[in-house]
Every structure is written in structure tokens, then in C-alpha cells.
């Protein structure tokens, strides 16, 4: 039980990952499949972020070197950091020979890239779903496969009148 709580993030990652995968494979609706895929990918983002966290570490931002003659006080607000870096004063990276503990910034950067990739995949998936809806008048995998099977057997499309026509008739 203790292990569960001390690795809380990893437990959440595993639950999300399995939920996502299950939804992808179990649902037959194209949108639901994409939702599952997104959940699955999000679990990986969380996994990377969790890897990067150092217990008690501060954000990886430059802090002022106290021994430096310009004499900044010890806080790490972003604006100060930028000013500090621009002013050319000597500064130290936290952790680099200093006492400051900081989280690993690299996985965050990687995950920014992965989020962009995930968004692009989702966009293509949704665009494909729209096209499938236009052509087949359905987004249920079972119906699509049934119609393709008919098409394979007879070489003709038995999908019936368009959905819009049905609406007009009633």
C-alpha cells in the first residue's frame, strides 16, 4: 500500500495507459477510438514529466550567485533571471556546484514535441473520420466493414439512401 502511494504518479500513468489501450481496441466507434488513443498518449506525457521530477527540486531556472559583486538576493523569478542573464553578471546554474536542487528540464522539452505530434495525429484522425462519415454515412466500424464486405462480394454499394435524404423524407 505504501508503495502505491509513494509511486502515485506511476500508478496513474499505468491506469491511464491501460484505459486508453482498452478503449482503442474495445470500442468500434471511430471517435471513441481516437479518444482512447489520446488518453493513451497523454499517459506517456505524464510518464515523462514524472521521470523529470526530483523530490524537493525547484524549477530549473538560473539563480543569482551570492558571491558575485553585483549582489542579487536569492530568488529565482523568471524576469529577474532574464535580466540577470542579459546583464552579463556571473550566474550559476542550480545544481552545478551549488546546493540548489532542481528538476530535470529535458523531458519537459521532449514532451512539448510529443504533444505537438499527438495533436497532429488527432487532427489527421478526425479529418479521416469526417471523410469516412461523408463516404459511408456512418462512423461505426462494424457497419463500415459490413459495407466493404458487400462491396467486395458484389462490386456494388448497398449502403442505401444518404442520411440527408432520409431526414428530408420524414
Amino acid at each position: 500500500m505504501d508503495g502505491l502511494f509513494s509511486h502515485f504518479n506511476y500508478v496513474v500513468v499505468i491506469i491511464l495507459m491501460m484505459t486508453g489501450l482498452y478503449v482503442v481496441f474495445a470500442s468500434r466507434n471511430l471517435i471513441k477510438k481516437l479518444v482512447g488513443l489520446s488518453v493513451f498518449q497523454t499517459s506517456v506525457f505524464l510518464f515523462y514529466i514524472t521521470l523529470a521530477k526530483v523530490a524537493g527540486g525547484q524549477p530549473p531556472i538560473l539563480v543569482k550567485d551570492k558571491s558575485s559583486p553585483t549582489g542579487y538576493d536569492d530568488h529565482s523569478a523568471y524576469v529577474d533571471t532574464v535580466e540577470l542573464a542579459a546583464s552579463g553578471a556571473t550566474y550559476i546554474l542550480p545544481g552545478q556546484g551549488s546546493e540548489v536542487l532542481y528538476s530535470n528540464p529535458l523531458p519537459h522539452v521532449l514532451i512539448l514535441t510529443a504533444i505537438v505530434v499527438g495533436v497532429a495525429t488527432l487532427a489527421i484522425g478526425l479529418a479521416l473520420t469526417v471523410r469516412i462519415r461523408e463516404v459511408y454515412q456512418t462512423i461505426e466500424m462494424d457497419t463500415i466493414e459490413e459495407r466493404d464486405f458487400q462491396y467486395n462480394l458484389e462490386g456494388i454499394d448497398r449502403s442505401g439512401p444518404r442520411y440527408d435524404d432520409k431526414l428530408r423524407n420524414t
Partner: protein, 508 residues
Amino acid sequence: MMSWLSTHGAAFAIVLPLLAAAIVALLPSVRRLAWACALVIGVAVLATTVIVLQTQMDVGVIVYEMGGWAPPHGISLRLDAVNAPILLLIAAMGVLSLVYAEPAVNAEVSRKKSGPFYAALLLCIAGLMGMVVTGDAFNVFVFLEVSSISTYTLVAMGANRDRRALSAAFNYLILGSIGATFFVIGVGFLYAETGTLNMEDMRAILANLDGGSRVAKVAFGFIVVGLGLKLAMFPLHTWLPGAYAYSPTVVTAFLASTATKAALYLLYRFCFTVFDPSFDYVAVVLTYVVTGLAVTGMIFASLQAFFQTDARRTLAFSSVAQVGYMLLGIGIISVAGLAGSYLHLINHAVVKGGLFLALGAMWYRFGITRISDMAGLSKTMPITTAAFTILAFSLIGVPFTAGFVSKVALAEAAAEKGWWWAVAVIMITSILALFYMGRMMMVAYFNPPSDNCLDGNGKIIRREAPILMLIPLVGLAIMSLLIGIRGNVILTDISENAARALIPGVGL
């Protein structure tokens, strides 16, 4: 110019199509403008890779530091004897597909969409080249997704011709994304274990750790499954037949000859460079899991190929079987096996690319994809059918063709290891290939053409494919013959060098 290219060529070959894709996408659909631009870019990329390959052969290993940041902290591009030939292969197949694409795209996709189509094709080329050339594990994922996402759109563009392309593309998107995500989970675990993303650095650290802890083992599992999905390892191949059968013909030819090959190259890299078969878990996975799946896949996919009515689905299942050959070469874990696998990779790219181009030409003229409709093609399209026959012989493994050289190399490697059952499986699947390819050739040669191919006097009208389709097709057929006749030279020169680079310090 030459010296500039030999220093910066590796990066230039990726950046050029990446930037050009954005421009090509915006080009107006005026006559052949988009095609001409894409072709010029393709030729430029090919020329660059030739120069890069030349430099690599002189120097041995090229390490290019992106932005001047030295590895392991910066991202590096790394070229050695393993990936330089594959880089050239991708660029060459890209140019051949682009030459072929002009008539094919107008017939299958519509001229209006030609701008976006060529843009996606250029992006795909850039992504695949990036996957092969980069030395950074996370960068591999990024380029993998660049190539995959452009591939999904390319496959979906077959919807004009056959609406099943849409559901095939959707399936490919779901499975491809899962594969890429598995890969990135694996890279995450590797980063947790080694604290680096540079593949050379990972190799050194893992070797120091003597294979690493359970984290490294989990990483290896995720990476093998993720790449297995991408390269269509047997039970993970279900996206492949649909995607190959319904996408535009030129896309099929390009994908069949490059996409799975780039993923296979990554499997080489991760199994032999990053991880090492001397770690017991890697050896176990390669010997039992990969080899087992390879052999099962060879037999099952060959049988499935035999029962298809659609010619392109037959070839797609045959691709799954051929991937099995290459995986078998990995599973043997010896320089000879890897050399055979590598050679088969190159041969299969040439052969399967050519075969799909030939089927595309047949669709272009007659609108046929079923095997039973191929009747009389030897009389109506003699040059296409002749090239198809040479390539089909090469796929089967008839002597003096490319397929024979690599199959013999693989069989010898298996026999050397004492795996006689593997030799038997290679023979059996070759015989199955004879049946499923022979069935097409029987119909093409011995059945009379249908009535609408006859003129008023009962004479057969020749309707050969356009010249832009014939050039790449005949070129690939001649290439497969050249490899077959001069095979030993290529075997020693390229594939053994590659295998030795992958397994250093082991004699043949």
C-alpha cells in the same frame, strides 16, 4: 559546393525536402508545376545522398553536430556503413516514385490535389531519411511521426480510386500511433536508465552497466514491440494489407520499398548498437521471440498471400513474409545472418517497389487489380509484363536474380548456425512464392485478353504504359538482375560492412 555538401550533406538532405514540402503544398495546380518542383527537389536530395555516401566511404563515420552542439548533449546526425546505403536507397526510391507519379497521380488522385500530394510525399521522404540518419533516440521518434503522419494522408488519398482507402488509413493511423507511442515509452525508460538520449552514449553506458536493470529490459520490450508494429512483424502486421492495397499505386510502391525498411533499420540499431546481443535478455528475445515470429510469419503470410484474389493484397501479404526473412537474419545473431538480412532488405526494396509499380501501370491502363483480370497482359502490355516477370522471379528467388543471392546468403547463415529447420522454412516459403506469383504470371501469359482489347479484325491492340511509368519500372527490373549477377560484390561490399559495423569485433 561539393565540399560544403560533404560536410553538411546529412542535414541538408533532411532539411531540403522538409522546407520544400511547405512550398510545394502551396503551389497552384497549374499543369505539372507541383510535380516538376517535387522532382527537382527529389533529384537534389538524391545527389546529396550520393555525395554523403561517398564521404562516408572515405571517412568511415560521419558525425554531424546540429547547431554546433556537441553530442551527447546536442542532437547529432550519425552516418556509418549501416545507414548510409539505406539513406541512398530511400532517396533513390523517392526519385523513382516521383518520376512514376506524374501520370499515376493525375489518374488516381486528381490534378487539383497534386500540390498537397507531392508535399506529403516529400515530407515522408524527409521523415524517413531523418529516422535513418539521426543519432538521437528521441529524434528518431519525431522523424518517425513526421513520416507516419504524412503516410496516413498519402494512403487516404487513394479514396478517389477506392473508398476502402479511408478505413485502411484510419486503421493504419491507430496502429501506427500505438507503435510510435510504445517506442517513445521505451525511449523514456532508456532515458531513466542511462540519463542520455544519444544512441552512442546509451550504448557505452548500457555496456558499463552490463545490460542494466529491469528498467532497461522493459525499455527493450517496448521498443521491440513499437518498432515491430511499424515494420509489420507477423502478428502486428494487420494494418499493412489494407494500407498497401487501397492507397494510390505510387504510394504503395514507395512505402513497400522504404517505410518498413527504415523501421527495420531502427530495429538493427536498437538490437545491436544500443542494446547488445551479449546481454542475455536481448539474446533471448532475438533467438526465441523474433525468430519464432519471423518463421511463423513467413509461413502464414505466404499462405495468406496464396488465397487472395486481389493482386496488390497478394503482394502485401508477401511483404509480410519477406519481412520475416529479414527478421530471421536478425534472429541468427551472426555477421553472416545480419549481412543476409541487410542484403535482403535492399533487394526486397528494389523488387517489391518494382512489382507494385508494375501493378500500378496495369491499373492505369485497364483499371484492374484482381488477378483474374490480368488475362492477356503479356500481349497487351509486353514491356510491363516482362519487367513484372523478372521482378517476380527475383521475389521467388530464381538464380541470377536479386532474391536468389539474399535467400542463399540467409540459408547459408542459418545452416552455419545449425538451424536446418530455418533452411527448410526458407525453401518452403520460396515454393509458396512460386505458387502465388506463378498464378499471376499464368493468367498474364496463357489466358487470352478480353474482347475489348481486340480491334475490328480480331487483332490485339497494344496499350503499353506511358514512358514515365516504364522508366522506373524497367530500371528496377534491370537493377534486380544486376544484383543477381554481380551479387557477390555487393554482398561483400555493402552488407558485410554494415553487419560488421553492427557486430564489431566478431569474425565472419
